[in-house]
Every structure is written in structure tokens, then in C-alpha cells.
């Protein structure tokens, strides 16, 4: 198992690299990981799709999970959330 990645305030339990994903898309990849993860997990997705900035936080809010932030990196963004229920 790779070491958990640490970002400012959270330890990421599972990260999915969806850079370059148009179909199924970064949000679909995140939902896939969320479904399989235990409650309490901190999950993240890497996306190079500009649409994710709107879609991913909107879905996290709709599903009632905790959005921990979006971190801009070189040419992509890391979105982090906690599965709260």
C-alpha cells in the first residue's frame, strides 16, 4: 500500500487519478470510490477537467458529504472530501 498522502488538514485514505478522463469522467470516478469506501474515509480525486470545479463540490453537497477543499496543482486539481455517512 502506498503511504497516505497528507494535504493541509487531512490524511487521504484513497485517491483516484482521473486526469485525462472525459468518459466516465472524474466525478464518476469519485462516486465509484465513495460507494466502496467505509464511512469516515477521506477521499480525493485528481482532475484536469475544468468542469470538475463546479460538478464535484456540487455533488458532494447534494449527497451531504463534507467537502474538504480543492487544491490547484500543475495543470490539475485535487478535490478532497470526507464520507460522513
Amino acid at each position: 500500500m502506498p503511504d497516505p498522502i497528507t494535504i493541509p488538514d487531512a490524511r487521504i485514505d484513497r485517491e483516484v487519478d482521473a486526469r485525462g478522463s472525459f468518459c466516465p469522467g472524474p466525478l464518476m470516478e469519485l462516486i465509484r470510490v465513495v460507494r466502496a469506501a467505509p464511512v469516515g474515509s477521506v477521499l480525493s480525486v485528481l482532475s484536469s477537467d475544468p468542469g470538475s470545479a463546479k460538478d464535484i463540490p456540487a455533488w458532494i453537497q447534494k449527497a451531504g458529504y463534507e467537502f474538504l477543499g480543492a487544491y490547484a496543482l500543475e495543470g490539475y486539481t485535487r478535490f478532497v472530501m470526507r464520507k460522513t455517512h
Binding site: 485525462g20 478522463s21 472525459f22 468518459c23 466516465p24 466525478l27 464518476m28 460507494r35 466502496a36 449527497a63
Partner: protein, 397 residues
């Protein structure tokens, strides 16, 4: 003959699009004394799965969707019709079940291994779905038998609410549920049932389809045909007695007939190999298609964890990449980076009903720009459905 005896064995698990194209490409690229080519398929039948989309609407003769795998492979490829029971990475061997189920198992040594073992549907992952499928209130078109049962259910349908929903992510052929919805709407209208049917498409996303440009094309079509589109609806549970759909986002809806994309998992053998993640997908390098951390083991098609469509088209393009990498390894030459790196390319059609379709083509770097739906793309798809057997499995394209 000494080098014939010592030639390395390339074992390919799975006789779908990816495995078949790869085996035939290798048979063409490598001489017989350079490598032994083995393909293991548990049924011995090659299925043209995209045809299942049309079965519920009587748009396809089921007999044209299946061929014997042997008939599609070049003679020098050894075909084992058997189930792989175990992959032993340490000794580089596969344990094959006796096809009759009564004889002893067989051990097959490999030097290179390719998982082209596909995905399987797992309805049991949605509580209530197996019961709803058995009851006949829910249907799916991800098996030939399921598509034929759905045809009977649609034939018997007269009015009410038809829900088309997605039961899990990822699933094969992302446009399929949307295509099904468009074809269903046209079918209901043709039968004079459209006015008596409420039709709802449930999308797990904030829009009708994952790709914004495709969604911009599909959403107005849904609206103008009176199909309700419910977004952010990820199915988690079905109450088959009350005929209710429930979502991860905390909503529920009643249906009369449910058409659902069942959750998918990687093939059982990938899961049992100990190399896959919890859902049976193999961690795969997005460019080289090697299974991560496993020298000489590759994966292609639906069984990978790559962020591309689970589709025959992706498997087809990936097969050429793996063929180049294996040929280079056998001949101990460097890989041609143009042919030996997968760029995420996928090409597919999306039916939009009324004998129209569009074409979706993209790769890791370039999002698709689908053209306005037209008869031309529908015709192209219909021709491809017929020409598939002559073009794809023999690796002519």
C-alpha cells in the same frame, strides 16, 4: 526445432474484443517459432455485446451476435475453452479447470500474461435488485438473456412509469442507458403508447451525460421528447415490493417498469488473482497497459481501472498497444513509442432514436466534439454492427 521448444508463451485470458484482436495481431507480427500464443476463454463463444441494445426493440437478430471463438482466431493460436481457476504469479502459471468439471485441472506455464477478461454484472450489489429482476419489475440489457426478457416486458407494457437508471459506476458503454432511453421513446411512440407512458432518465451526474459537450446535445433531445431527466441520482437500493428506487443522495421514486444498468465488477479471475482492487479492476498503467508492479503482465479492455470508457473500442485500440509491447519484448528491441503507448483513445456512436445517431471520439488530451445527430451516423453504426465480424476480430482495422 530447439528454439521452438524454448519459445516463450504468451497467455491471453479472455476471448472478447481485446483478447481476440491481440491474439490475431500477435499471430501476424511474430513468427511461429518466436512465441507460442495461447488464448483461454471460458465459453468458447465470442459475443457482439453492442447488439444487445437493439434486442428489446426487435432491432437485431440474436443469431448474428455470436460466433465461435475458434472461427475468429488464426490457426496457430491455441484456444483453451476453460475457466482459469488460479493465477500463480510466482511460478508464472495458470490453473485451468477441466471444461467438463469432472476431470483434473491443468497447469499452463506462461512467460507473458494478458488479462483481457472483461467485466461482469453484479446485481447483488444493489439491495433489492436481484429480487426486482426475478420478479420482473426490473430489467437489464447487459446480457443477451436479459435483453430478451426486456423485449417481452416491453411487448406486454401498456401504460405507467418507465424508469431508466444506472445502478453502479463504472459500467460498460457509458452512452448505453441514454441510447436505450432514446430508442425506447421512439419505440413507445411507434406503438401508440407514448402518451400513456411517463419516461424518466436518472443520471448519476449533474447533467444527462458525463461529457459536457455530449450532454449539451442530449439534454435538449430529452426535453423535446418529453423525457424527464433527474440528475444526481445514484441508485443505492430498490424496494421491489413497493417498486421504489432510492438514491445515495437521499431521494426516492416509484416506478412501474425499471430498466437498470446493473453494477459492474472486474471478472472473477482478476479478483481472485490477488492483483485487482476491491471491485475487481486491475491497477493498470495508463500508457503502457502493464499491470502496476507486475513485470510481463498486461491488462486491456473492461478489466482495467483506467479512466476511459469500458467499451469494445477502447479494448480494440489497447490491443494494438499491448501487441507492440509484447512483440518488442519477444524480439528484444525497443518499443515504438507511437504504437506502444495508449493515448486514451475511444470512438463510439450514440443512437438518438428515429434512425439518427452521433459519433463520440476522444482521448486523454482531447474531449469529444460530437456532431449534430443525423441519419449518416446511424447508418454508419448499422453498417459497423454488420461488418464487425469481418473487420474487428481478425484485426483488419
Amino acid at each position: 526445432m530447439a528454439n521452438v521448444i524454448q519459445r516463450p508463451t504468451i497467455a491471453i485470458v479472455g476471448g472478447g474484443v481485446g483478447g481476440t484482436v491481440l491474439a490475431n495481431l500477435l499471430a501476424r507480427q511474430l513468427d511461429e517459432d518466436e512465441a507460442r500464443l495461447v488464448l483461454i476463454d471460458q465459453s468458447g463463444h465470442h459475443l457482439y455485446q453492442p447488439g444487445w441494445l437493439y434486442l428489446p426493440f426487435n432491432g437485431q437478430d440474436p443469431e448474428h451476435l455470436e460466433r465461435s471463438e475458434r472461427s475468429l482466431l488464426r490457426h496457430r493460436i491455441d484456444l483453451y475453452v476453460s475457466r482459469v481457476e488460479q493465477v500463480d504469479v510466482e511460478t508464472r502459471s495458470l490453473r485451468l479447470a477441466d471444461p467438463t468439471g469432472v476431470g483434473p485441472t491443468e497447469r499452463l506455464h506462461y512467460d507473458y500474461l494478458v488479462f483481457a477478461s472483461g467485466a461482469r454484472i453484479a446485481p447483488e450489489e444493489v439491495p433489492g435488485l436481484p429480487e426486482a429482476l426475478a420478479q420482473g419489475s426490473a430489467h437489464q440489457f447487459y446480457t443477451q438473456e436479459g435483453a430478451e426478457r426486456l423485449r417481452q416486458a416491453l411487448h406486454a407494457f401498456h401504460d405507467g412509469h418507465i424508469a431508466v437508471a444506472i445502478g453502479g459506476i463504472p459500467y460498460k458503454c457509458p452512452p448505453a442507458p441514454l441510447e436505450f432511453t432514446f430508442l425506447l421513446e421512439a419505440y413507445l411512440r411507434k406503438r401508440g403508447l407514448r402518451e400513456r407512458t411517463k419516461l424518466t432518465y436518472y443520471s448519476p451526474l449533474p447533467r444527462a451525460f458525463t461529457i459536457e459537450s455530449v450532454s449539451e446535445l442530449a439534454a435538449p433531445l430529452l426535453a423535446e421528447r418529453g423525457i424527464e431527466s433527474r440528475i444526481f441520482f445514484n441508485v443505492t437500493e430498490i424496494d421491489h415490493q413497493k417498486r421504489l428506487l432510492r438514491s445515495l443522495e437521499g431521494e426516492e421514486d416509484r416506478y412501474d417498469l425499471l430498466v437498470i444498468v446493473p453494477p459492474h465488477r472486474g471478472a472473477l479471475i482478476a479478483e481472485q488473482s490477488g492483483l485487482a482492487d476491491a471491485q475487481g479492476w486491475l491497477p493498470t498503467d495508463r500508457a503502457t497497459l502493464e499491470v502496476k508492479g507486475q513485470e510481463g503482465i498486461f491488462a486491456l479492455g473492461d478489466v482495467t481501472d483506467l479512466p476511459v470508457s469500458k467499451s469494445g473500442s477502447a479494448a480494440h485500440f489497447e490491443a494494438a498497444v499491448v501487441a507492440e509491447r509484447l512483440s518488442a519484448a519477444i524480439r528484444m528491441r525497443t518499443v515504438n513509442p507511437r504504437e506502444g503507448c495508449y493515448d486514451g483513445r475511444v470512438m463510439c456512436f450514440m443512437e438518438t432514436g428515429y434512425a439518427q445517431a452521433t459519433r463520440i471520439e476522444f482521448d486523454y488530451e482531447h474531449p469529444p466534439v460530437p456532431p449534430k445527430p443525423g441519419w449518416f451516423y446511424h447508418l454508419e453504426k448499422m453498417l459497423f454492427n454488420k461488418a464487425y465480424w469481418y473487420l474487428v476480430p481478425p484485426a483488419r482495422v
